[in-house]
Every structure is written in structure tokens, then in C-alpha cells.
């Protein structure tokens, strides 16, 4: 599903180049639950942004469903990411001016889904995440875990092929983090391809595969044997 070939990314700091990603090559298959780990500043978020098509690599090739994303212009990348990828953020990034219901509904609006379909889709997901009672509240009225639930609901309502979660539990207590992780696992069990970034060893084990980044290089890439992830 995803094929990264020699992806590189650098920033210009003053007159020198700082390499953030070096020589990144790996594939992600459909249905995988990949965890990216690594020390702070190792380039995890940068890699996620590239996979999410919010950012462009300086070198290398990126195929998404065999489409050469690295050759696309910004507009085509935007089109592709809109329809194929859902994002979950560490800081939730809900829109403060909108209610829970409206936050979740927003991607459907941008997709042009009809009103009745939107209503039933949002109702389903509210129901599934057990937040029906919160639908008219604003983000500031929710706990962190609840906000992240809404964030995930918003990310998956458009039925993306890939879910990207950059430290989804980073701002949460352990118990709330566990709830979010089991939700992600559930989604994975239903067939969703997921890539997550985490610093938490335990949460990493929810996935099927771990990639370890260090100074922009892939240091380790291993399948979780006990889970027996789909190949």
C-alpha cells in the first residue's frame, strides 16, 4: 500500500543543511498497524507528514497504492490525502468554535456528502464512541481523552484507507491513553491500516510492527511475532 524508497528530508539552518531523514526505505502493507518510535527530534513527525502528504521529501520516491506521490504537485497531493488519509494529533486540534457534532461532521461537508447521509454517519460514530450525550458541547467542555475520541471520530468518519496518529496519547493519562489505544486496535481489527507514533513502549505493542528511528535513519524494523500480523 505504501512504498518508501530512499526518502530524505533536510532543513536549512543558517548556511548548513540539517538532515532530518536519511535513506528511509520500507513498505507498509494494507491492514498493518505500524508503530514508529525513536528519541525526540529523530524525525518521526517529519516522516509522518511526508506519509500524510502534508510535506514533500527532498529526495526519494513515495508510492501510495502504486501512485508516484513524489511526482505530484501540491494540488494533486492534497486531493489524494483528502480522500485517503485520516489524521489524529497529539494536541487533538479540534476547532474550538464548533461543537462535537460539527467537528465530526466537517470532513463530510468538505466531501460533499448529503445532509441525511451526514446525519446517519455522525450518529453512528457518536453512538459507537459513546459520546452521544456530548454532541452539542464545545471542545473546551471536554476532557483530554474525550477530545481525542472526537479527534479519532473525525479522522475516520470519511472512511480513509490510512489512519495516521502522531502521539495520539501524548497529552493523556495512562488510563485515557489505554482507552484510545484499544480503540485504535479495534479499528485495526476491522481492517484499517494505521501508522502511529508513540514514546510509550506498552502502547507500541498494540501494533503489528515497530520501526525505530534514530537521527533520521531507520535503526530497527521488526514484526511483532505474538500478534501474527497480516503480511
Amino acid at each position: 500500500m505504501i512504498k518508501l524508497n530512499n526518502i530524505e528530508r533536510h532543513y536549512n539552518t543558517g548556511s548548513n543543511k540539517t538532515w532530518v531523514l536519511r535513506n528511509i526505505t520500507f513498505n507498509v502493507n494494507k491492514g498493518e498497524f505500524l508503530t514508529i518510535m525513536g528519541p525526540s527530534g529523530s524525525g518521526k513527525s517529519t516522516l509522518m507528514n511526508i506519509i500524510g502528504m502534508l510535506d514533500k521529501p527532498d529526495n526519494g520516491e513515495y508510492f501510495f497504492h502504486d501512485e508516484p506521490v513524489h511526482t505530484f504537485n501540491e494540488k494533486r497531493r492534497t486531493e489524494l490525502h483528502k480522500h485517503s488519509i485520516g489524521f489524529v494529533f497529539q494536541a487533538y486540534h479540534l476547532i474550538d468554535e464548533l461543537t462535537v457534532y460539527e467537528n465530526i461532521e466537517m470532513p463530510l461537508l468538505y466531501k460533499g456528502v448529503s445532509k441525511s447521509d451526514r446525519q446517519s454517519l455522525v450518529a453512528d460514530i457518536l453512538d459507537r464512541f459513546n459520546i452521544v450525550g456530548k454532541k452539542d458541547l464545545f471542545p473546551s467542555q471536554l476532557s483530554g481523552g474525550q477530545q481525542q475520541l472526537v479527534g479519532i471520530a473525525r479522522a475516520i468518519i470519511g472512511k480513509p484507507k490510512l489512519l495516521l496518529a502522531d502521539e495520539p496519547t501524548g497529552n493523556l493519562h495512562t488510563s485515557q491513553g489505554e482507552m484510545i489505544m484499544s480503540l485504535l486496535k479495534e479499528l485495526h481489527d476491522e481492517g484499517m491500516t494505521i501508522i502511529q507514533v508513540t514514546h510509550n513502549e506498552k502502547f507500541a505493542t498494540y501494533g503489528t510492527r515497530i520501526i525505530q528511528l534514530e537521527d533520521g535513519f531507520v535503526r530497527r524494523d521488526e514484526e511483532m511475532r505474538d500478534e501474527g500480523g497480516t503480511a
Binding site: 492534497t78 466537517m106 461537508l109 470519511g158
Partner: protein
């Protein structure tokens, strides 16, 4: 999607209540002020254009060459020209005439109720054919045949009769009974002819003496208005008119020319200002218009800088929306709908403000402006403002944000904010430069007004009131009798008389002057006045040489007193006192030189003045009262008046008031300027306040951290206010030279004027910085006092 945008926009606006309020208040106030200013300008520029044949209508003016280098410009012509134009100038389709300055005022009386009327005129039968009047009751039919008939405006009719349907009813005008022929609608604000009462010219000419005077080709007392055929050659018409006038005048010299002037240009022709027509200043109209534009600009700048400031805060929202799938167009629409709502609300409020302010504005302007919703000017202001603000504040940040790639947001960058602080700072500087400039202007205007008010005029006008004795064959006796009866009154210090008020003795003469050593080709033009023997002492005039006129000195009836300017101008040979001097047919001598005093508006330099004693023309009586006893003196004067003129109201005015009256238009323009300047300052401060709110909001976290680390409140306030105050000082540096240039130009109109001191700039600078600091520090102090734990937790 659209209702969704509106809903979100509405919520956003509500959530940022203070911003929205500042935005709406600034924009609507600005629009309202601009609409009022433009109403004024539109009115000034649209004078007389509502008459159906306005475009073909011309006023005939006279140019009279009095010497090689002086031409007098009059708005009037001899009466017979009206007939000649119609009969002998083929281009003329119609012509009509009006005269107004027969008597300055007439007294009206109805059932014992007395009142005066200054705005009246005599018109001929063609008047209503060429000029549009809305008849409410009665017609102009038979107006000229019925000598004692009058056409009144609704306003005057109501003043005299207490109602408007008064056709056929009569009232007393001076000593005659007149019947109301018709009642017309009040004169529109843009009519040059603002007469409240029109009387038939045939009445004026029914007196043989007056008819002879009027029909002389040597008296230029009639406004003549002609309707020319479309496409007439104006130069040819002027040529014909001039030739005909010279022919009938039987003058061999060619010093008279007649010039047709389009009606549209008449209103702004100040050199030919005439009592019967409202004259306006094109310069003032332009200044008001420009200030209107400036205020509108300031309001737009506020709006733009605040909106773009907020747009920067919305990076997150826009970033998230984009990641979730919003296209550029959708983001644009969202931001745009917010602006649209704000702009439309502001427009509605502006129209409301204008309606509320109109009555006061009308009172101030002495106008009856009306703002119909169909007035195209309103929609031009609205369209222009909304267009500009939407373009600058809606499209500009919207484009910025739509271009903004979400990856940048995730990396914590605020693209918009980085790019446009310079832009916003520039706006603040522009805004405050204008504001400071206006403050400087207002201070200079105020200082000049004070200067004029307190300038030593060379005569003492304090505790003196004056009144006019109406013309009659026995006026000389009446004046004498009134003065006589006041001499024994303890509250009266002295009385005097002259032929016109000392505050403005605006009458020139030339042609009859002769003295030893006058070159043959020198025909001096001098100001002239008739006074009496007590005038000098009452006014506290100072003699430079010789003496003043003496009471009961028969020889002084032939003698003159000159002012210093006259002596210099005519180069009277030494010794001046005692020189023979012929003036207006009297052969006497110069008995004294009076020190220059300001007998004209301070706009003009003290000009040569010849004073003589000619009792028959003395109509203005001055009474100087003892301090604190003015009302007793007035009562005594009224008693003396009533003994002579039982049927006329006694009207007096203090010289102080008469003096201020002379600067009324100027004072009014100055007041308007100050009002608009004040508004501009207010609007600018609103904008600055908004920016201060914005920037402190943005720095809430920083302030919290600094406080936790031990920063004191004053140091925080200083930190937060510093930037703005620096900007304001920068604008002062820009504004000062520009303001100096324009105000210096304005002062050139005054022969007597202040010098612009550096203190003006210091004062204006202090005012601007002070106001800015107060505005900004309010926010800063609030932020600095806030509990840091709160602000940090919310992050």
C-alpha cells in the same frame, strides 16, 4: 454549506465579541461621519441644479474697471438690461431679475406680533418660469398686478400666522398691508435663493423716485438671470451684452463689461458674493470632503488591521480544516462570510447613526439635509467602504490563508502572522500620522481663532452695543434725539453714531479724491465711513497726529480724518495735518491722523480709510455701558427707541457678538473640522485598542511565564506598550512636516495670523502618544495584573 458558514461566522464573531464590537463601531462611525460630510459636499456642489432649466441658466455679472490695475466684480447689473436681453439678444430665451438690497430688513407685524425678515427679495413676472418653486397653496398668477401681494415660504407663513394655509390673509410690512398670494415649500438646502418672502418688483417700481433710480443704466442693483438657447456661443453673448450696455449707458469709456456665468458656477464665486444669494466656499467644501474620505480611510484601516490580526490567530483552525479536506475556495468563503456579516451590520448601524445625528447636524449646518435611502451617495459610500474593507480584509487574509500549506501549521509556524506584522505596523503608522496631522490642524485653527478673538483691534469694543435706526427723511433727528435722551442715563457712559458698524466698515470709494501733489493718473480707491465727534472717544481710538472731529464745529463737516494707512497710500505731503483734501464734493482739510485700527475682518490688511462726518447717513448708534449695568442701558435705549418707533421691534447687538458674527462661517468650518478631527482620533484609538487587545492576547502565555519568573507589573506594562508608542512617535515624525505645510498655507488667508510654534507639535505629539498610551496600557495593565496560573493552564 452556506448556512453552515454563516452559522460559524456568526459564532466566531460572537466569541470574539470585543473585536467584533470594535470593528463594527469603528466602521459604522466612520461611514456615518463620511456620509454626513459627503451630504454637505454634495449639497455644496449641487447648488441650484434642481431647476428644470438650470443647465441653460446664466447669471449676468458686471466687471467694472476702476483703474489701470483694479477691476470690481459685481453679481448685479442695471435693471433695464433684463428687457434689452430679451429683445435684442437672440440667444436669450427668457430672462428674469431679482433685487434684495433695498432695505436690509423689513419689519412684519400680525395682530401686534412684531418680527423681522432679512431674507426677502423683489422679483419680476418671469421668476417662476425659470426657477422651480413648489406651490403649496395659491399660485403666482396675478402676482405682479397685485402690488401688495407676497409669496411666503411655509416656514415664514407659520412664523407669522402660526399656520400655512393663509392665502388671502394679510399682514403689515413696515407701514403697508400685504396680502398672501401663495405659500411655497421651504427653500431646499441647495438653493442659492434662500428668500423666505418674495414681493412683486412692480411694487418697488410703483414709487416714482425708486423707479427712476432702478431704471438708470448707472445703478447696478439687480441680479439678472437669463436662459440661453442650448449651444449658444457664450463669448458672442458676452460681446453683445457688453456692447449693448455700453451703448445704453451712453458711456464713451469702455470700462464696463457684462459676463454670463453658468448657474452651476455661481455658488462658489466668492468674489461676487451677493446678499440675495447664498455663496459657499469651494475650498471648505473640498476640505470637508477630503476629511470625510480620510475618516473613511481610517475606519477601513482599523478594520483591515484588526481583521488581518485575527486572521493570524486562525492559523490553527485553517490548518486543521485543510488537513481534514477543505479546499482553498471553501476556506475563502468561510472567512469572507464573516467579513460580509460585519460589513453589513456596520452599514445598517451607520445608516442608523446618520438618521440619529441628522437633526443635530442640520441645526449645526443650518441646513435641512435629508438622507433618503435612495440617495446614490449613500450607496456609493457604502459600496466603496464595503468594497475596500472586504477586498483588503476579506480577500487579502483569505488568500493568505488559502495559500497556507497545512504542513507549516503542524510545524508550529504561523505563516500569516510573520508576513503581515510589517503590513499592520505600516497601517498603524499611516493611521496615526493622519490623526496627529489632524490634531495639529485643530490646534493651529484653535490658536488662530483665539488670536483673532483677542487681538488688539486698535479700538475698544467691550461693553458697547449698537442698533440701527431705519432710513427716513427725519433719521438724522431721530438719531440725535435717541442719543440725547441717553446722555442723562447713569448706566450709559457714552453714545456715538456712524453710517455702518465699526466691526466691518466695508465700503470703498474712488473718483472724487483730490489733494495737493496727487498725480493726475492716480485714482486712489479708499475705504470710507461717516462718523461723529464722539466716535473716537467711545471706541478709544488713538490719534497719531492732529485732532478728531469736534462737536458743533461746522467746518469739520467738510474735513476728513485719515488713518495711517491712507496717509502712506496716498503719499500726502508733509505736514499732513492741515493739507487741503477734497472728498465726495466737499473741500476741506485733513484735521487728524488716526492710528490704524481694524475696521475690517482680520482676513484683510488694514486698508486706507477716509473718515468724514455726514450726519444724514449715520444710522448705527453705539451705546457704551458702565460695567455690570448693561441691562439698564439696554432698557433705556429701548425706551428711547419706542418713543420714536413704536411699531418696530428694538433689536440691538453687542459689538463682541457682531464681531464674532463676522467669523461665523469660519467658526463653523473650524467647529466642523474639530469635530471630524475628534472623530478621527477616536476611530484611530479604537483601532489601536483592538490591536492592543490582540497583541496582549497573543502574549498571554509569555506574560504568565515572565510573571512567574518575577517580572513586575510596571515592567510588563512597559514591555507591552512600548511597541505601539514607538509607532505613534514615528507617525508624529511623518505628520509634523506635512501638517506644518498645510496649516501654513491655510494661515496665508489671514492678513493677521499666528506663527506655528514648535509647541504645537509637542502638544499634538503628547496628545497622540498620551491617547495611544492610555488606550494600549489599559489592555497591558489588565494582562499584567492577570493571574499567571490561569493563563498558563489554559495553554
Amino acid at each position: 454549506m452556506f448556512t453552515n458558514n454563516l452559522k460559524i461566522a456568526y459564532r466566531n464573531l460572537l466569541r470574539r465579541r470585543s473585536f467584533t464590537a470594535i470593528n463594527v463601531a469603528g466602521l459604522s462611525l466612520g461611514m456615518a461621519a463620511a456620509i454626513l460630510a459627503f451630504l454637505w459636499v454634495e449639497n455644496e456642489y449641487g447648488f441650484d441644479q434642481y431647476h428644470p432649466v438650470a443647465e441653460q441658466t446664466y447669471r449676468l455679472n458686471t466687471d467694472l474697471r476702476v483703474s489701470a490695475d483694479e477691476v470690481w466684480h459685481w453679481a448685479t447689473t442695471p435693471l433695464p438690461l433684463v428687457k434689452v436681453v430679451q429683445e435684442e439678444v437672440p440667444e436669450a430665451m427668457n430672462a428674469t431679475t431679482m433685487t434684495a438690497n433695498m432695505w436690509p430688513v423689513v419689519n412684519l407685524e400680525r395682530k401686534g406680533q412684531k418680527m423681522r425678515c432679512e431674507k426677502y427679495g423683489f422679483v419680476d413676472g418671469n421668476w417662476f418660469e425659470m426657477f422651480s418653486y413648489q406651490f403649496l397653496d395659491g399660485t403666482a398668477e396675478g402676482f405682479q398686478q397685485n402690488l401688495h401681494s407676497a409669496i411666503l415660504t411655509q416656514k415664514l407663513a407659520e412664523k407669522i400666522f402660526g399656520k400655512a394655509d393663509v392665502v388671502g390673509e394679510s399682514f403689515r410690512l413696515d407701514t403697508l398691508d400685504f396680502t398672501v398670494q401663495a405659500v411655497v415649500e421651504n427653500r431646499p438646502a441647495n438653493s442659492s435663493f434662500d428668500q423666505e418672502m418674495l414681493l412683486p418688483l412692480s411694487f418697488l417700481l410703483s414709487n416714482e423716485q425708486r423707479r427712476q433710480d432702478a431704471e438708470s443704466w448707472n445703478n447696478f442693483n439687480f441680479l439678472t438671470l437669463v436662459q440661453l438657447r442650448p449651444g449658444s456661443d457664450l463669448a458672442a453673448v458676452n460681446e453683445k451684452l457688453t456692447t449693448l450696455t455700453r451703448k445704453y449707458k451712453e458711456a464713451e469709456d469702455d470700462n464696463v463689461s457684462i459676463l454670463a456665468q453658468p448657474l452651476s458656477e455661481v455658488h462658489f464665486d466668492e468674489t461676487r458674493a451677493h446678499l440675495a444669494m447664498l455663496t459657499g466656499s469651494q475650498k471648505s467644501a473640498n476640505v470637508v470632503g477630503i476629511i470625510g474620505l480620510v475618516i473613511l480611510f481610517l475606519a477601513c484601516v482599523n478594520y483591515v488591521s484588526l481583521t488581518t490580526a485575527q486572521a493570524g490567530m486562525r492559523t490553527k483552525e485553517v490548518g486543521v480544516r485543510k488537513i481534514i479536506g477543505a479546499g482553498g475556495q471553501q476556506i475563502f468563503k468561510l472567512l469572507f462570510s464573516e467579513n460580509l456579516i460585519t460589513a453589513l451590520v456596520s452599514l445598517a448601524l451607520a445608516i442608523g447613526f446618520v438618521q440619529l445625528a441628522l437633526p443635530y447636524f442640520n441645526e449645526f449646518a443650518e441646513q435641512n439635509f435629508d438622507l433618503g435611502l435612495t440617495n446614490p451617495m449613500l450607496w456609493m459610500v457604502a459600496g466603496g467602504t464595503l468594497g475596500t474593507t472586504l477586498l483588503l480584509s476579506g480577500v487579502y487574509p483569505a488568500l493568505f490563508l488559502t495559500d497556507f500549506s497545512p504542513g507549516q501549521f503542524l510545524r508550529g509556524q504561523n505563516f500569516l502572522k510573520m508576513k503581515n506584522t510589517a503590513f499592520r505596523k505600516g497601517l498603524v503608522v499611516a493611521q496615526f500620522a493622519i490623526t496627529t496631522g489632524l490634531i495639529i490642524g485643530a490646534i493651529v485653527i484653535y490658536q488662530q481663532q483665539e488670536y483673532i478673538r483677542h487681538k488688539d483691534l486698535g479700538y475698544d469694543r467691550s461693553q458697547v452695543f449698537e442698533f440701527n435706526v431705519p432710513y427716513s427723511k427725519t433719521r438724522q433727528d431721530a438719531v440725535k434725539a435717541i442719543q440725547q435722551s441717553l446722555t442723562t442715563v447713569p448706566s450709559v457712559v457714552a453714545t456715538a453714531a456712524s453710517n455702518m458698524s465699526v466691526v466691518n466698515m466695508n465700503s470703498t470709494h474712488s473718483g472724487s479724491i483730490d489733494y495737493e501733489g496727487k498725480p493726475d493718473d492716480f485714482e486712489p480707491v479708499v475705504y470710507q465711513a461717516s462718523v461723529d465727534a464722539s466716535f473716537s472717544e467711545l471706541m478709544q481710538l488713538k490719534m497719531a497726529d492732529g485732532r478728531w472731529f469736534q462737536p458743533d464745529n461746522e467746518a469739520d463737516m467738510q474735513n476728513v480724518v485719515l488713518n495711517e494707512a491712507a496717509v502712506r497710500f496716498m503719499k500726502i505731503p508733509e505736514p499732513v495735518v492741515g493739507q487741503k483734501f477734497s472728498f465726495q464734493g466737499k473741500d476741506g482739510q485733513v484735521v487728524g491722523i488716526v492710528k490704524d485700527f481694524h475696521y475690517l475682518s482680520l482676513r484683510s490688511k488694514i486698508a486706507p480709510l477716509v473718515l468724514q462726518v455726514y450726519p444724514p447717513s449715520n444710522s448705527t448708534v453705539y451705546v457704551k455701558t458702565t460695567a455690570g449695568k448693561a441691562s439698564e442701558a439696554i432698557a433705556a435705549a429701548e425706551k428711547a427707541w419706542e418713543a420714536r418707533y413704536p411699531n418696530m421691534p428694538f433689536e440691538y447687538r453687542f459689538l463682541d457678538d457682531a464681531f464674532n458674527q463676522m467669523y461665523k462661517t469660519e467658526d463653523k468650518n473650524a467647529a466642523l473640522f474639530k469635530l471630524l478631527a475628534g472623530l478621527a482620533v477616536f476611530i484611530s484609538c479604537l483601532g489601536l485598542f483592538g490591536l492592543a487587545v490582540f497583541s496582549t492576547q497573543q502574549r498571554v502565555k509569555e506574560i504568565g511565564v515572565r510573571k512567574v519568573l518575577g517580572a513586575s507589573v510596571p515592567s510588563l506594562v512597559g514591555l507591552l506598550s512600548k511597541d505601539f508608542v514607538t509607532l505613534v512617535i514615528l507617525s508624529l515624525v511623518i505628520a509634523a512636516p506635512l501638517a506644518w505645510y498645510f496649516m501654513d498655507k491655510w494661515l496665508q488667508d489671514f492678513a493677521y495670523r499666528i506663527d506655528i510654534q514648535w509647541t504645537v507639535f509637542a502638544l499634538a505629539g503628547m496628545a497622540a502618544v498620551g491617547v495611544a498610551f492610555l488606550t494600549v496600557s489599559f489592555q497591558s495593565i489588565k494582562a499584567a495584573l492577570a493571574n499567571p496560573v490561569k493563563s498558563l493552564r489554559s495553554e
